[in-house]
């Protein structure tokens, strides 16, 4: 018995050694990504097939609010191991830029994008965006006007019937910081107070908002298009509303729908810089954005003349929330301080 155990230990060690020490001669690129695996993996496979460069990916998970890789990138800063960071949103990319983790790269296709979807210092470029939308349970709200702007969350008619995700993390954090930057502290705090008084539920993440609206526990909630599309695909009785669109609310509105792009950035002192550039160019190419738009996440392309997801309106038809990204990075902590002050009262 003892021999069997010793043999199995030795075998495990040998397997581990072999698995970890195998390093092929094919060129490779190391990508850290917080984009959901079922969306990013097909893109990696397509890249490997067309460019003959092996992708070694590290994925993040929602369980730690997709912040694990950001911590890893910061910890690895003195000896970087990643070549590219493909982030599913923008807030953490801005923070990495501030911490000097990112490198400059002028991607040829980056200039096709609007100026607010690329960094003025060329340290990141936006692509394939998600919109912040209102997901409505059509069984709970029958015979009533669907909530069509953010003020619906503070409307006493909907007291205790709406949900949002925790703004400490993810796209809700970025969205709230954008509102803070746009409105200023005073108006933002008033809005937060109104949210609290209207008993808006704070849930762990956007996926939970989608789930609880789908089951009818809440009448509507604020989430991302990919989650809302997933609810539709699951056959839930929900409808997606792009908030603060003038044609829907029939009044003048300065807010619009908030768009959160994926961001791609090269890591400073990346071990495989050439392969990293090839991958960034590949990802920013219109064909890749078309692939992402057609995929399960329904990402909205930021390149002009690329067909968007069939069940979402094109970006040209949307009124978008004006965003100053450098300001966004500066205001994140202040927004969280406001949120904490109001919510923990």
């Amino acid at each position: 018995m003892k021999t069997i155990l010793l043999k199995s230990i030795s075998l495990s060690l040998i397997v581990i050694f072999l698995v970890t020490s195998c390093d092929s001669k094919i060129p490779q690129v190391i990508i850290y990504t917080s984009v959901d695996r079922h969306i990013s993996e097909p893109v990696f496979k397509h890249f490997e097939q067309t460019r003959n460069i092996k992708v070694k990916a590290v994925y993040d998970t929602e369980a730690n609010k997709t912040t694990g890789l950001v911590n890893r990138l910061i910890a690895e800063q003195h000896q970087p191991r990643a070549d590219v960071f493909w982030n599913s949103e923008i807030g953490r990319t801005l923070m990495l830029k501030e911490r000097q983790v990112l490198d400059i790269y002028k991607a040829p296709d980056a200039k096709l994008r609007r100026s607010n979807f690329r960094d003025s210092e060329h340290k990141w470029t936006g692509l394939a965006a998600r919109a912040r939308v209102i997901i409505v349970n059509t069984k709970r709200i029958q015979g009533l006007d669907f909530p069509a702007h953010l003020d619906a969350f503070t409307d006493p008619v909907w007291r205790g019937q709406a949900a949002i995700a925790n703004p400490h993390f993810g796209t809700t954090g970025t969205h709230f910081t954008a509102l803070y930057s746009l409105w200023g502290k005073k108006r933002f705090n008033l809005w937060l107070n109104a949210l609290k008084n209207n008993q808006v539920a704070i849930l762990p993440g956007n996926a939970q908002v989608k789930n609880k609206v789908s089951t009818g526990e809440y009448a509507f909630g604020l989430t991302d298009t990919d989650d809302a599309l997933a609810a539709l695909a699951e056959g839930a009785p929900v409808k997606i509303i792009f908030p603060d669109q003038e044609h829907l609310i029939k009044e003048k509105n300065d807010l619009g729908t908030f768009l959160i792009p994926n961001t791609i950035a090269m890591i400073k002192n990346a071990p495989h810089p050439e392969a990293a550039r090839v991958f960034i160019d590949f990802l920013l190419a219109p064909q890749t954005e078309a692939l992402l738009a057609a995929g399960p996440g329904g990402q909205i392309p930021l390149s002009p003349n690329v067909q968007g997801p069939a069940n979402l309106p094109p970006i040209s038809e949307l009124k978008l929330t004006p965003v100053d990204y450098p300001l966004l990075a500066q205001n994140l902590e202040a927004m969280l301080a406001s949120f904490r002050a109001v919510w923990s009262d």
Partner: protein, 533 residues
């Protein structure tokens, strides 16, 4: 004592301390020093008063969870070891099932089971539409329930190991006294207080440091604040500062435990005894026990498991999934197995070192271990990256993942050491001394005298560490080499984007993969030291 045995003891002592220093002390010291030299900032966006209130709330909450987990686990362990009935192993396995399921999954499951419009409430509303919500618990109650359901198997297993070593002659000696019950209580307390202490310490800090359940029920607890410092503000030093009060609490608990362990324990010199209680003393029929177990198992294991099973739409997905992720499974299995072996071996030598006072660093080692146990695993992960991700070290260590099993082993080493110490205390030193005086080499004495007596606790430590390593997520995410993925990373990614059915399928798959070999291993007693002396 012969020269050989003296040398062997020194080698063992020096080797274990050296390994511990390289694996634990240096990475953490390196991180603290580099943070101090870089920019050591205080916690962001939180006042002292708010922290104080959070700390007290969490203290109260975790104490409650600990108390009820001990009550449930201890009660069950007592029944399992004191009453002989059929299918004992089967029942014990069933009661241990919740520990195999990652706490996030278990929490999600209970949440959907007791949700306002889902699970039981939904079924009741179909039957009696006038009843809107029958089960409507406050988030604190729900979170406590989930944590108790997740942690009670830990106390069950530890108490079970303890009950196995109870010498029936102690009970029999009490029968001669007219104050049988009082005497028996005093003896039991002297024997079991160590098991109670260690179980309480482990469960309390598991509960205190758990972020997942609090997050699901949106409770703001102390662990949430540490997580926020790390993840929302990326303030590593802030998180370390916030861990210090927890460390202080742990140190106080450890001090009392240490004092208690220093008192003369009841030593079991003649091995295991399974008492068969007379009908007079324990007049419960076997049938009644089976009924009791059945009703309990339906509530605490059957319901969440059934909920998981009925969520699966297509059972064919189980096989498809297996084909898709067999590499992740294999990798998780190998890494967890190696990590568990490292953890058990290191715990064995460290605890022996501490207990037999082979050097003067025993108490310090325990304090460092406590610090490791209390520190969030993200910080340990970052400490490992800082220490091992160096240009002058071969890629094999960090880039190719050799340190991953070591990091996992380190994470659960404190649990393993405390449990081993618990059992070592029960082994009298006289036999070892006699062996040494007879010229028996040190390692031979260790093998034939000490190891067989640690049999039951080694099994428990192996089981717990393997499960914890297999389900661990944070360290895996921070240190896993590019291109590899473990099963928990896959599972928790899917919790976000996968359908409920797919998540349930993967959870069941993980449960089966983890539970089957362990049950087989234990069923056939496939272990190094079969016999107790």
């Amino acid at each position: 004592m012969s020269a050989i045995s003296f040398d062997s003891r020194r080698i063992l002592s020096f080797g274990s301390i050296l390994a511990f220093t390289v694996l634990a002390v240096l990475p953490i010291l390196f991180l603290v020093v580099s943070l101090y030299l870089d920019h050591f900032s205080t916690p962001t966006n939180i006042s002292f008063d708010a922290l104080q209130s959070l700390y007290l709330n969490s203290l109260f909450f975790s104490s409650g969870v600990t108390f009820y987990s001990l009550l449930l686990g201890g009660g069950l362990a007592w029944l399992f070891s004191r009453v002989t009935f059929h299918y004992q192993f089967f029942w014990l396995g069933l009661f241990c099932l919740p520990v195999f399921i990652p706490i996030n999954i278990l929490a999600n499951n209970w949440s959907s089971l007791l949700g306002q419009h889902t699970g039981l409430n939904y079924m009741i509303s179909l039957w009696r539409p006038e009843i809107k919500t029958l089960f409507n618990f406050s988030p604190w109650i729900s979170a406590s329930w989930v944590q108790i359901m997740s942690f009670y198997p830990i106390s069950l297993l530890i108490f079970f190991a303890g009950f196995q070593r109870w010498d029936q002659r102690w009970s029999e000696a009490c029968y001669f006294s007219s104050h049988y019950r009082m005497l028996h209580f005093i003896l039991s307390w002297r024997y079991y207080r160590h098991y109670i202490g260690i179980s309480a310490l482990l469960i309390f800090f598991f509960s205190f440091s758990d972020f997942a359940v609090a997050d699901l029920f949106q409770l703001h607890v102390y662990a949430t604040e540490i997580f926020l410092q790390l993840s929302a503000y990326n303030n590593l030093s802030g998180a370390i500062i916030l861990s210090l009060p927890v460390l202080l609490t742990g140190a106080v608990c450890l001090f009392f435990l240490y004092q208690s362990l220093e008192q003369i324990p009841l030593s079991n010199e003649s091995g295991v005894s399974r008492p068969v209680l007379s009908k007079k003393l324990f007049p419960i029929q076997e049938f009644m026990i089976q009924i009791f177990f059945l009703s309990l198992i339906i509530v605490i294991v059957g319901m969440p498991l059934t909920n998981l099973l009925i969520t699966i739409d297509n059972w064919g997905d189980l096989l498809n999934m297996l084909q898709l992720i067999w590499q992740d499974i294999l990798l998780s299995f190998i890494i967890s197995f190696v990590a568990t072996l490292i953890c058990v071996l290191l715990a064995l030598v460290l605890s022996y070192n501490i207990h037999r006072k082979l050097n003067a660093l025993g108490l310090w080692t325990r304090l460092v271990l406590l610090f490791i146990f209390i520190l969030p695993s993200s910080i340990i992960g970052v400490a490992y990256i800082n220490f091992w991700n160096q240009p002058y070290l071969p890629d094999l260590f960090y880039q190719q993942g050799l340190i991953l099993p070591f990091a996992l082993a380190l994470l659960f080493l404190p649990i393993a050491v405390e449990l081993m110490l618990l059992q070592l205390k029960k082994i009298p030193i006289a036999e070892e001394q006699a062996a040494h005086l007879s010229g028996i080499p040190f390692y031979t004495a260790l093998r034939i005298i000490v190891l067989p007596r640690l049999n039951s606790i080694i099994k428990i430590v192996f089981l717990l560490c393997f499960i914890f390593c297999f389900n661990e997520l944070t360290i895996s995410l921070l240190i896993t080499p590019p291109g590899f993925s473990s099963l928990p990373v896959r599972l928790f990614s899917m919790v976000h984007y996968g359908s409920q059915s797919l998540v349930a399928t993967l959870s069941v798959l993980q449960l089966l993969i983890l539970a089957t070999p362990i049950f087989l291993l234990y069923h056939y007693n496939f272990f190094l030291f079969k016999k107790n002396i």
